[in-house]
């Protein structure tokens, strides 16, 4: 597989929407989603081997986007904590009740361990079957079931302490 910059540019045109659409959902910010799109494909120029060995381009883009967005959410959470402590406590959520609930989902995703959060994203936000989640996470379907159970438990606990 030849993945030089022109080939990656072609991939960006043909497959970039997979990244942008999911990044919008996960991050809830157009600017952050576009940054995710740019960073994921720019990283591919630096390290084309990462996708070369993947069985599926779409699958690889799902993994890269999920990883990138969960990191972004965690960084945002850290930043929000600093803001709470030093600048302006209680930043209001925007977008009405539905927007607030979506923001709450993102806040809770940032609290979960990476594999648990990824399982939640794939199963609940992308509607994947346990088999599809297992394929992307590289684990068994049974492990996926365990991760999702754990996620709901952690989710319930986080909501209670919020």
């Amino acid at each position: 597989m030849i993945l030089d910059p022109p080939a990656i540019a072609s991939l960006y045109r043909s497959h970039g929407h997979v990244v942008l659409r999911r990044a919008r959902t996960l991050l809830g910010s157009e600017a952050d989603a576009r940054e995710a799109l740019q960073e994921i494909f720019t990283a591919l120029v630096r390290n084309p081997d990462s996708v070369r060995s993947a069985g599926s381009i779409v699958g690889w883009l799902y993994q890269a986007t999920t990883h990138h967005c969960l990191n972004t959410l965690r960084k945002a959470r850290t930043g929000a904590r600093v803001l709470e402590l030093h600048v302006r406590p209680g930043l209001p959520e925007t977008g009405g009740p539905r927007g607030e609930a979506a923001a709450e989902v993102r806040r809770l995703l940032a609290l979960l361990p990476e594999d648990v959060a990824a399982a939640v994203v794939y199963h609940h936000l992308d509607g994947m079957t346990h088999a599809e989640v297992a394929e992307l996470l590289g684990c068994s379907r049974r492990q996926v079931g365990y991760l999702l159970e754990r996620a709901q438990g952690l989710w319930d606990r986080a909501e209670q302490t919020a």
Binding site: P5, A9, H15, G16, L20, R21, V45, V105
Partner: protein, 238 residues
């Protein structure tokens, strides 16, 4: 809050991954047909696919990231042999394109595939089935009324299939136009016999390996995803 019913939860029956793989031509023919049939009958899934297509158009209109937008560094283009096909590809080979056309056309679609042959100093358009000689250089041009993702695959006399254009795992974007020359030329080696070619025109950058495998299995254009059309071509090397 139940994780299954958050405002961000997926609400089509097929997963986003499955629909994306279907759109991008990653599913095999049977699976692709199953998904296509379902999507056409399911309001939730067809709405999800419409949303995906909308974002795809948005991305195509966005400027490329700086790291991708720079011109590729110029480098010497090697001549090498495509395994089993006996075609030596030379990207630096450019034939002078002249008029008029023997061209393989798909009626009513505006799609066309034209082949040019350089024999010694003479360049001519080749008709489908035309005889060519070992050592001749060939180059293809395509006609398409709208931008398309294009690939040309080859099946040699021994039944071995290869991707002739592009040298990439996915079909390459070609702008709308009449007889747009593909950037790679090919020099024919000494293997003789009939070489069959399949030019494909798709709405998305489909993966080529499943098509190549299908060609070897003799499935030809019947294996193409729903958003693709195929044009056949052949020449005889003797």
């Amino acid at each position: 809050m139940n994780l299954a019913t958050t405002p961000l939860s997926w609400n089509a029956c097929l997963s986003a991954l499955r629909l994306d793989r279907w759109m991008m031509g990653e599913l095999d023919a049977a699976d692709s047909e199953t998904v296509g049939t379902h999507v056409s009958a399911c309001a939730a899934c067809s709405a999800a696919v419409a949303g995906m297509r909308g974002v795809r158009e948005e991305v195509r209109a966005l400027p490329l990231p700086a790291a991708l937008g720079r011109p590729a560094p110029r480098r010497p283009m090697p001549v090498f042999t495509v395994a089993g096909v006996g075609l030596a590809l030379a990207a630096s080979l450019f034939l002078v394109l002249r008029t008029p056309p023997p061209v393989e056309r798909s009626k009513g679609t505006g799609l066309g595939l034209t082949m040019y042959v350089q024999h010694g100093d003479e360049v001519r358009r080749a008709a489908p089935g035309e005889s060519v000689s070992p050592g001749d250089a060939v180059r293809f041009a395509v006609s398409t009324p709208s931008p398309a993702y294009v690939a040309v695959l080859s099946l040699d006399p021994a039944g071995k299939a290869s991707v002739y254009f592009p040298q990439a795992p996915y079909a390459a974007h070609v702008p709308a136009g009449t007889e747009v020359p593909l950037p790679l030329g090919t020099r024919l080696d000494g293997t003789t016999g009939e070489e069959r070619l399949l030019g494909i025109f798709c709405a998305s950058a489909i993966e080529l390996e499943p098509i190549r495998e299908a060609l070897e299995r003799g499935q030809d254009a019947t294996s193409l995803p729903a958003d693709c059309q195929g044009l056949r071509w052949s020449f005889v090397k003797r």
